[in-house]
């Protein structure tokens, strides 16, 4: 998996941040290593410092420096990495056929749209960020249910991933919100299709966890 050499990859990273995990997970699945720069978000608030704003004008994490460009936000970083990985033996992460590409685009937009309620819910529950606790939890669970319904039908069609015929960058973009939903007090019991999918994701070579996702490798 280390067939692609991407020199000078730098990830501005917060180990507890769900969006940073999205990119760490994808880098690992692709077999890439990035130099990480820790950003002290909680409690430091470093995402609002002038130094960080010079890199990420809106203060969003993560930032992936690739090919000399600072790419801000998980969605953009995932897309760039998927694009870079194409044609290097792991092209399935970003299908080139019109239907497969369209499906990936759809779910990337979902991850950057309705599913952000899950990301915000986790921040409210875990880090005490201001926000409508119950409302975000409800919206986050509703987004997970849309994912559950989609995968339940896909499984019946013999296509157990979100888009295309194998794992794609869409799966990487969606995975963390389900894997971490217990952080905002939504259990996995109500989502059997997502549980099946999670086990498949966990079995991928290069899969890594983050705090909040049980790591069976511990013992």
């Amino acid at each position: 998996m280390t067939d692609l050499v991407l020199p000078d990859l730098v990830l501005h990273d917060d180990v507890l941040d769900e969006n940073c995990y999205r990119v760490r997970l994808f880098l690992s699945l692709l077999g890439h290593r990035a130099r990480t720069v820790a950003v002290n978000v909680v409690p430091g608030g470093a995402q609002d410092s002038p130094a960080f704003r010079a890199i990420s004008p809106a203060g969003i994490l993560p930032v992936l420096r690739i090919a000399g460009v600072d790419v801000c936000g998980a969605g953009a970083a995932l897309l760039v990495l998927a694009h870079e990985s194409g044609g290097h033996g792991s092209g399935t992460w970003l299908p080139r056929d019109p239907a497969g590409f369209a499906e990936v685009a759809h779910w990337l937009a979902f991850a950057g749209g309705p599913l952000t309620a899950a990301v915000r819910a986790r921040r409210v529950f875990l880090f005490g960020e201001p926000g409508d606790r119950d409302g975000l939890r409800r919206q986050g669970a509703a987004a997970l249910r849309i994912m559950e319904d989609h995968l339940a039908l896909r499984w019946l069609d013999g296509r157990p991933w979100f888009a295309g015929d194998g794992p794609t960058v869409a799966d990487v973009a969606l995975f963390p919100s389900f894997a971490l939903c217990r952080d905002w007090e939504v259990g996995h019991e109500a989502f059997p299709a997502l549980r099946r999918w999670m086990r498949r994701m966990r079995a991928r070579p290069g899969f890594v966890t983050m705090p909040g996702i049980p790591d069976p490798g511990l013992f």
Binding site: A152, L156, D157, E189, P192, A193, P214, L218, F219
Partner: protein
């Protein structure tokens, strides 16, 4: 929503009734359909809630399903976060391992120690039948879970429904007090539906298609049943939220 179907319990073979899984429903006694068997892969662990009681469901390497209360006797950690190691359920917190009989058999921090027999989880009575994992709550059951179905069942999906189990059961046409039974769904054929009361306001609906002898189960049929379940869920939740 029940207009297109009728309960198929009249078709139940002699000696079994469609409401066999519902005995003692009012007292919490009886068999409860926890999950689809296919959703409990070998060596995996799942959480489940029945009538507000949290359970862990796990399958050992030999394929046997086990159901315990979801609480490690050591520090009270949820077993359902754990993993299966060496044929035992290992708690995620300190790695203590508990065998199928519930007894603690291994403590990683003290590998030389033989844990006392009092250190144990309490296994509940579990069974697998008709493509479902069941648990018996309350009094020891006189017989296994019965759905009245006598042909192989092929899983479709499970759905979480934010409505009480009795509302779900009524909507799909199960007899009062019953948790599982066959439904005749016209072009979709016979469907096994099983309803789990998660708590007073939430339930899980498990759907399987029943495969009569010599008849294949096509993808379209299962897809239609899955979409029907989704539709039913959405209507039920809408009605329940408005009530």
């Amino acid at each position: 929503m029940a207009e297109r179907m009728r309960p198929a319990h009249a078709r139940a073979p002699a000696g079994e009734t469609a409401d066999g899984a519902g005995h003692g429903a009012g007292h919490g006694n009886g068999w409860y359909p926890l999950m689809l068997s296919m959703d409990l892969e070998e060596g995996t662990v799942a959480g489940c809630t029945v009538l507000g009681r949290d359970l862990v469901v796990w399958r050992d390497a030999g394929g046997q399903a086990h159901v315990w209360d979801d609480r490690c006797p050591h520090r009270g950690m949820r077993f359902s976060l754990g993993i299966v190691r060496a044929g035992m359920l290992a708690c995620l917190y300190h790695g203590w391992r508990f065998g199928p009989d519930g007894r603690c058999a291994h403590i990683p921090a003290h590998p030389e120690l033989s844990p006392p027999p009092t250190l144990r989880a309490d296994p509940l009575t579990a069974a697998e039948r008709d493509g479902l994992v069941w648990v018996a709550l309350g009094d020891a059951p006189a017989h296994g879970p019965a759905t009245g179905v006598s042909a192989p069942c092929v899983p479709v999906r499970s759905l979480a429904v934010d409505a009480p189990a009795q509302e779900v059961a009524r909507a799909i046409g199960l007899p009062a007090g019953s948790r599982a039974g066959g439904l005749d769904r016209d072009i979709d054929g016979l469907v096994l539906a099983a309803v789990l009361p998660v708590d007073r306001a939430r339930s899980m609906l498990h759907l399987l298609v029943i495969r009569p002898a010599g008849v294949g189960t096509d993808r379209d049929r299962r897809r239609r049943v899955a979409v029907w379940g989704q539709d039913l869920r959405d209507r039920l939740e809408g009605a329940w939220a408005a009530a």
